[in-house]
Symmetry: C2
Subunit: 403 residues, 2 copies
């Protein structure tokens, strides 16, 4: 039998994205097997020089641009835009994360794109969406967290609103956009034409409000910051064992009874003071004290083993080093090592989606700036002389031309 | 011209999921146009009675189960499992969020599924993945946040690890799984066969570590909790205007210069004490004081207007009520109202992915428990007499049978 083809085998993506939200989207497409042609400025994606560099090389860039190719093309020049047009004629997907309107000004309005290639799926990862009063505002993960309400519920009562420390709005908007793109490719199979797809960072962050939003809509009560306490469940949170903290989340009464039984205070759930979630919620501190009194008698390891075996969701608030040393995370290959010619081995995050037949693989490491410029243009009908002319004009930057 | 078909038009999903992570995945598929048949227990998904109910109705359930159909079927019975088998024979997708192994025990191992329907895409949203030492552990959003390292970086220095207040691991694993499923449908178009797809909550949460993970891998330094301070950029954070806080995130030196110029302290970036990000990072408190001294002279509205116009990412840490009253969020239709027959209008979250040709729509509201049981079975070849027999046996629960 032939090797099965990757889900996005045969799909070409023209990638105009930079930094994180857009590159995360095209990373998903690249990991699913698409040929992603990343068009960079002559300086390259700014993440090429962000974070701690190792021998001048950015592991941040490497992690989020694997499986992509790079061409360094000046899109402010007419010739650069002509080359982009040529690529769009045969591409399946174009992704950008400029502010809405920027691509228009470069000469690539929605109408123009449809003219160039009616089968093209064009996609935008942006801050606020491309309609509405804030359409021209710049965005950034921290701001999207602020404007989505996420910060208003994160953190502790009595303290200021707090950002979530991981760039969740970048990642989530990237994944939403990738889902939209793959769905639009399927719609193209059905309808014969491409369309425009968008995912905004604020909208993605709003979607994480989930039951907090449902609760607000039904009660009109504004959700508050509750730290590690669950807004409607008790007991729940970080408790104190003899040598550290244990996170415990008994998600319903059956599991709560199991939990209390294992820690030998099953009586709590039958006590008339604590026999409903509502009563327990209002006696949270009393119950936390009862739980802690029991947990402190044994180690974290002891409880994690015992509670998990008893079917009670629990764990340890691992630090990042502990996460990547965790046998489960290792078994799931959530950190991988990729050899980068001339740069050595680079460690990076693994694949969050697992496929039994077409697993994501690293087909090639993240590209050096502009390394695929010549071959990409040649494949789009540019002759050797054309390419040299573009280099001479300063439109195309290639490693050869630099050396 | 005909109305364009939705991306997942013609795709049937058998949905065994409950609560949030799995239902969020199948919500994505339903919103993209798939026919999602939700198989519930006779008691129904537990979210039907969670959160504040309005006239006995859960807006939480309503929000995350729109566009789906419901059949209440006892899968512990032989006849229930036979009906499930019948549905799987012609389905395109099956999704579940049991603990790994549970479906096996019910008689639906991967091998059996491939036997029943080799074109089936089967998918699992789970806590830790289906291989590795923690495969049997129960999970929950709070625990996935703890075990992924997310909590270890969230919160303030000197305080305990803090969960992110929105159920981000449920949402993200759901979206990853939906992306995996749509990709696997495309792979099926190429290869002719289905496969198994998985997204684990811990793995999804790990993916949000993004540049924090890259930084850890390259430096071996464990990322710390830094509250609202960016771990490597300064100034950045919540600042104090005359009537409240402003979130400001100048993402590079060019934007920082603009910011400082607008607030009239451009000299800071040229001062030898503060002229690199590294120096500013170490003088964060001094610089924050300089910024606050300026911002406190005007209102939040003033600065948000002025900074946005100047291209500086900024915003307000809106509470949830302010979010849904925000003109941008209204323009993006991130809250929608859906009429539920007999239950009135229900307000819920809108669609985070926007399509120009095939926009997501509410084709029908979330179903009452078991309301589609009879029609679903009839469509799978069950006669009226068969269906009545299943009701009489207590295998199928329908609203009719109850009334």
């Amino acid at each position: 039998m032939n090797e099965p083809k990757a889900p996005l085998h045969g799909i070409t993506v023209v990638d105009l994205t930079r930094v994180l939200s857009g590159p995360f989207c095209t990373l998903m497409l690249a990991d699913l097997g698409a040929d992603v042609i990343k068009i960079e400025t002559h300086k390259g994606d700014s993440t090429r020089v962000q974070g701690t560099l190792k021998d001048g090389f950015s592991w941040y860039y490497a992690a989020f641009n694997r499986n992509k190719r790079s061409i360094a093309l000046d899109l402010y020049s007419e010739q650069g835009r002509a080359a982009l047009t040529r690529m769009l004629e045969t591409a399946d997907v174009m992704v950008e994360n400029f502010r809405p309107g920027v691509l228009d000004k470069m000469g690539f309005s929605a109408e123009r794109l449809a003219q160039i290639n009616p089968r093209l799926v064009s996609a935008s990862v942006n801050g606020y969406g491309s309609t509405g009063p804030y359409v021209d505002r710049p965005s950034f993960d921290f701001i999207a967290q602020a404007m989505s309400g996420l910060m208003s519920v994160n953190g502790r009562e009595g303290e200021e609103p707090l950002r979530n420390a991981t760039p969740i709005t970048d990642v989530l908007a990237g994944v939403y956009c990738a889902l939209g793109i793959v769905a639009a490719l399927r719609a193209r199979d059905l309808n014969g034409v491409g369309q425009h797809v968008e995912a905004a960072m604020v909208n993605g962050a709003i979607s994480t409000l989930a039951y907090l939003a449902a609760e607000y809509f039904v009660t009109d009560e504004i959700p508050k910051r509750t730290g590690n306490d669950h807004p409607i469940m008790s007991p729940y949170g970080l408790f104190t064992a003899s040598d550290g903290s244990v996170a415990v989340a008994p998600s319903n009464d059956t599991i709560l009874r199991r939990f209390l039984k294992i820690i030998d205070i099953e009586w709590v759930i039958d006590d008339p003071r604590y026999d409903t979630n509502h009563k327990r919620y209002h006696a949270r501190r009393e119950i936390d004290a009862l739980v802690n009194e029991r947990l402190v008698t044994e180690t974290v390891d002891h409880w994690i083993d015992k509670l998990n075996k008893g079917g009670v969701p629990c764990g340890r608030a691992l630090n990042v080093a502990e996460v990547f040393a965790d046998p489960q995370v290792i078994a799931q290959e959530m950190a991988i090592e990729v050899e980068h010619p001339g740069r050595g081995m680079v460690k990076m995050l693994g694949f969050p989606i697992k496929f039994s037949q077409t697993p994501c693989v690293v087909r090639h490491p993240a590209p050096e700036l502009g390394v695929d410029g010549r071959s990409v243009l040649a494949a789009h009908g540019y002759s050797e002389a054309d390419i040299e002319a573009l280099e001479a004009l300063g439109v195309l930057k290639t490693p050869d031309a630099v050396a």
